[in-house]
């Protein structure tokens, strides 16, 4: 299940952020994208996930010209909901109106009720959060929320995972722990992943690093 991206241009009418980029990520590997602020890292992830159009009003909409393939299937024009590409942000963005368990349940694909509940409990156990199911997400610590966000993304059984600076809000000790947690799960599932960060310590695999140039 290789993720391969051929990017011709990514930018708005006024400005081009990126041009002529080639990425290929084999299953279980993590590609680290690095670059200064404004170089278009988050926009590239949005393009791969298909969420480029979801910008706040008034902001400039960006356009992606190129091709995206996952396991040989062309996803360039597929809507986000059908791409099966998971996304993890800096802000865990747990849904405020659902409990932790309901947040996780939300991601589980349709099926028999007992099975879905079991999947949720398993995910909680993996994240070392058994018994936290009925809690209000706002009452969890930053690290706990980050773990729930990752488990939620994984419960949807994505075929690739995109991480947009997911560690930058965590303190140093937590950071190492969570980083190891994330990479282990990615390896276990055997899915390609792209990680965006500006911290050298986050690099997963020194052989797979892409430095994005300055914009403009």
């Amino acid at each position: 299940m290789t993720l391969s991206v051929h990017l011709d241009t990514l930018g708005s009418a006024q400005r081009t952020l990126l041009r002529d980029l080639r990425l290929a990520v084999p299953p279980g590997a993590v590609l680290t994208l690095m670059g200064p602020s404004g170089s278009g890292k988050s926009s590239l992830l949005a393009a791969i996930a298909g969420t480029l159009a979801s910008v706040a009003e008034g902001a400039q909409a960006l356009r992606f010209k190129g091709r995206i393939h996952l396991n040989g299937v062309d996803l360039t024009h597929t809507p986000t909901a059908q791409r099966s590409i998971g996304l993890l942000f800096q802000d865990p963005l747990l849904f405020a109106h659902l409990t932790v368990a309901e947040n996780l349940l939300f991601a589980v694909p349709p099926g028999p009720r007992a099975q879905r509940q079991a999947a949720v409990q398993q995910a909680l156990a993996d994240a070392d959060l058994t018994g936290y199911g009925e809690r209000d997400p706002a009452t969890l610590s930053g690290g706990q929320r980050a773990r729930v966000a990752l488990m939620r993304a994984l419960l949807a059984q994505p075929r690739a995972l995109l991480l947009d600076e997911p560690f930058s809000r965590l303190d140093a000790a937590l950071r190492d722990q969570f980083r190891a947690f994330v990479f282990e799960h990615i390896r276990a599932r055997g899915i390609p992943a792209v990680l965006v960060t500006h911290d050298r310590a986050d690099i997963a695999d020194p052989a797979r690093v892409l430095e994005l140039p300055h914009a403009g």
Binding site: G50, A53, E57, H77, A81, D91, A96, H97, L105, P110
Partner: protein, 543 residues
């Protein structure tokens, strides 16, 4: 020094509200009134009609709002949807009802267009298309009028600083989890948005249950809805009948309370169902050209048809069925409108003054009152929305008599401001309370005083919300009829009192022309608000 100011504000507005409410409800403590009501045969059926029309119209409007909003949100066309709303919001309820009645009546435009070639009618058919005994015409009119209001309040919530980007991001995230855009909206954004719309929803429900002018034009007549009955009894010269009317108003207020409770229970049930959810992802529509929402266009088309009907009706002379176009055209109705132009000044003066006062009070309150007070006291501040207008005016008039203010400008201004206040608060609160508190922190850290922060940062950033809320208060004041009549002791004529007294003569041309005048003022108000609230244009430096 927050609390003294908040307490003072509470006194200024809360005291008249409390006293008015008490006086209005005090009219209910008359055993004779209840006895008389019990012996009156019409009221159970009238109550059933009121409940049916109010609940059905609110439910339909709520469903339609959700559908339209979902479509606009998913297609990123929220701004476009909102642009057409002020014109629809500004249409006065009674004028809209009259226009709709003219479209649907047995001798109305729709049937004229189809007769006699399709229907074979030479005379208007005896179909009860208006004033039908099941209240369907009234429900339709209420739904059409309430959708823009709910959409507009929902949009003000969606544009709050604190949730705007977050909900967009959550929506995108839900899609990455495999949910179709529409499903993602239903499961993620709507459950967080809906609880914030409780205030407007209660206003819509209360209005649907207690509306008088629309029910008079389109609603059933034998018996009418309980609101109309109460109003007719309160209009009577016999004090015993008045008391009966007050009792009916009390029943109506109770019905509003019960309906709101029922609605909240229903909503809680629905929310629980949504949260448990089956994980069904929903269908993603095939990626293709994004076309505008059909529902939105339908809404716009109906409003356009109604306004056109009013426009043509205002210049129509003799117009027998089944002619599609009037036999004679006459400008007499507009001549009479021109002759009443003095009332426009009165209307403008009252509306500007009461909107300004209501806005000033609301801003001061939202600025100064602690959240706890605000949360606890909102129900009191929304009282004029929930109590039937007929009862409310009884209370206001008693207050004015007691203060010896009847027939004086201050009483009139007080009445209009108290009626506009809940709407202005409703319109302003989302944006105001959603304002990012970190701006204040930054301003303080830069050494600026609070006044400086308010004048240079907060209020300019909230310009659009402030202007829109003022426009809403303006429109509400223009539409007031009973308060102007009672508290002004008939001395002040506004555009609306002229319209209603002339509507009593039931001349289509005059009524339509005055409806036109009633419409123009709030539209201008909203247009001005849009202009004031326009975003600043930054000149883009060439790269």
């Amino acid at each position: 020094m927050r609390h003294p100011l908040a307490a003072l504000l509470l006194l200024i507005a809360g005291l008249p509200l409390l006293v008015t409410g008490a006086l209005a409800l005090g009219a209910l403590f008359d055993a004779g009134a209840w006895q008389a009501l019990a012996q009156e045969p019409q009221w159970p059926r009238a109550l059933a009609l009121s409940l049916w029309t109010g609940l059905a119209s609110t439910a339909l409007a709520w469903w339609a709002t959700r559908a339209l909003l979902a479509q606009a949100f998913v297609q990123q066309r929220l701004a476009r949807l909102l642009r057409g709303l002020p014109a629809m919001l500004a249409t006065p309820h009674a004028a809209f009802a009259i226009g709709l009645a003219f479209l649907l009546a047995p001798s109305g435009w729709v049937l004229r267009a189809l007769s006699p070639w399709l229907t074979g009618f030479d005379f208007p058919p005896p179909w009860p298309t208006t004033q039908d005994p099941w209240g369907l015409g009234l429900i339709a009119a209420l739904v059409l009028k309430e959708i823009p209001f709910l959409l507009w309040t929902a949009a003000t919530q969606l544009q709050r600083d604190d949730v705007r980007q977050r909900w967009q991001a959550e929506h995108a995230l839900a899609q990455t989890l495999g949910y179709a855009p529409r499903q993602a909206f239903d499961r993620v954004v709507w459950p967080q948005l809906a609880p914030r719309l409780t205030g407007p929803l209660v206003a819509v429900l209360a209005y649907g249950l207690t509306v008088v002018d629309m029910a008079l034009v389109l609603g059933p007549a034998s018996p009418p809805t309980l609101a109309v009955l109460a109003w007719q009894w309160l209009q009577d010269a016999d004090p015993a009948t008045n008391a009966q009317g007050a009792a009916a108003g009390g029943v109506l207020a109770f019905a509003v309370g019960v309906s709101v409770a029922l609605w909240r229970a229903g909503q809680a049930l629905a929310a629980r169902h949504t949260r448990r959810g089956s994980g069904a992802r929903g269908r993603t529509p095939a990626a293709g050209p994004v076309h505008g929402s059909r529902g939105a266009w339908l809404l716009v088309a109906v409003y356009a048809a109604v306004l056109l009907a009013l426009a043509v009706g205002s210049v129509a002379g003799v117009w027998p069925f089944p002619a599609l176009w009037p036999d004679t055209l006459t400008l007499q109705a507009w001549a009479s409108v021109w002759a009443s132009r003095g009332t426009v000044l009165t209307t403008l003066g009252l509306a500007v003054a009461s909107a300004a006062l209501a806005l000033a009070w609301s801003v001061a309150w939202l600025e100064a009152a602690p959240r706890r007070w605000d949360a606890a006291l909102r129900p009191l501040l929304y009282a004029p929305l929930v109590l039937p207008a007929v009862l409310w005016v009884v209370g206001l008039y008693s207050l004015a008599l007691w203060l010896r203010l009847e027939g004086r400008w201050p009483a009139l201004l007080l009445a209009h401001t108290l009626m506009a206040l809940p709407y202005v608060l409703l319109a302003l609160a989302p944006a105001y309370t959603g304002f990012d508190p970190r701006y204040r922190a930054i301003s303080d850290s830069l050494g600026r005083s609070r006044a400086h922060f308010l004048l240079r940062i907060k209020w300019p950033l909230l310009r659009r919300a402030l202007a829109a809320s003022a426009a809403v208060g303006f429109a509400v004041s223009v539409a007031q009829y009973l308060p102007t009549l009672y508290l002004g002791a008939g001395r002040w004529a506004t555009v609306t009192t002229e319209a209603v007294t002339l509507a009593a003569g039931a001349q289509r041309s005059l009524t339509s022309a005055y409806a036109g005048l009633q419409f123009v003022l709030p539209v201008l108000g909203f247009a001005l608000a849009a202009w004031v609230g326009r975003p600043r244009r930054f000149t883009v430096a060439p790269t």
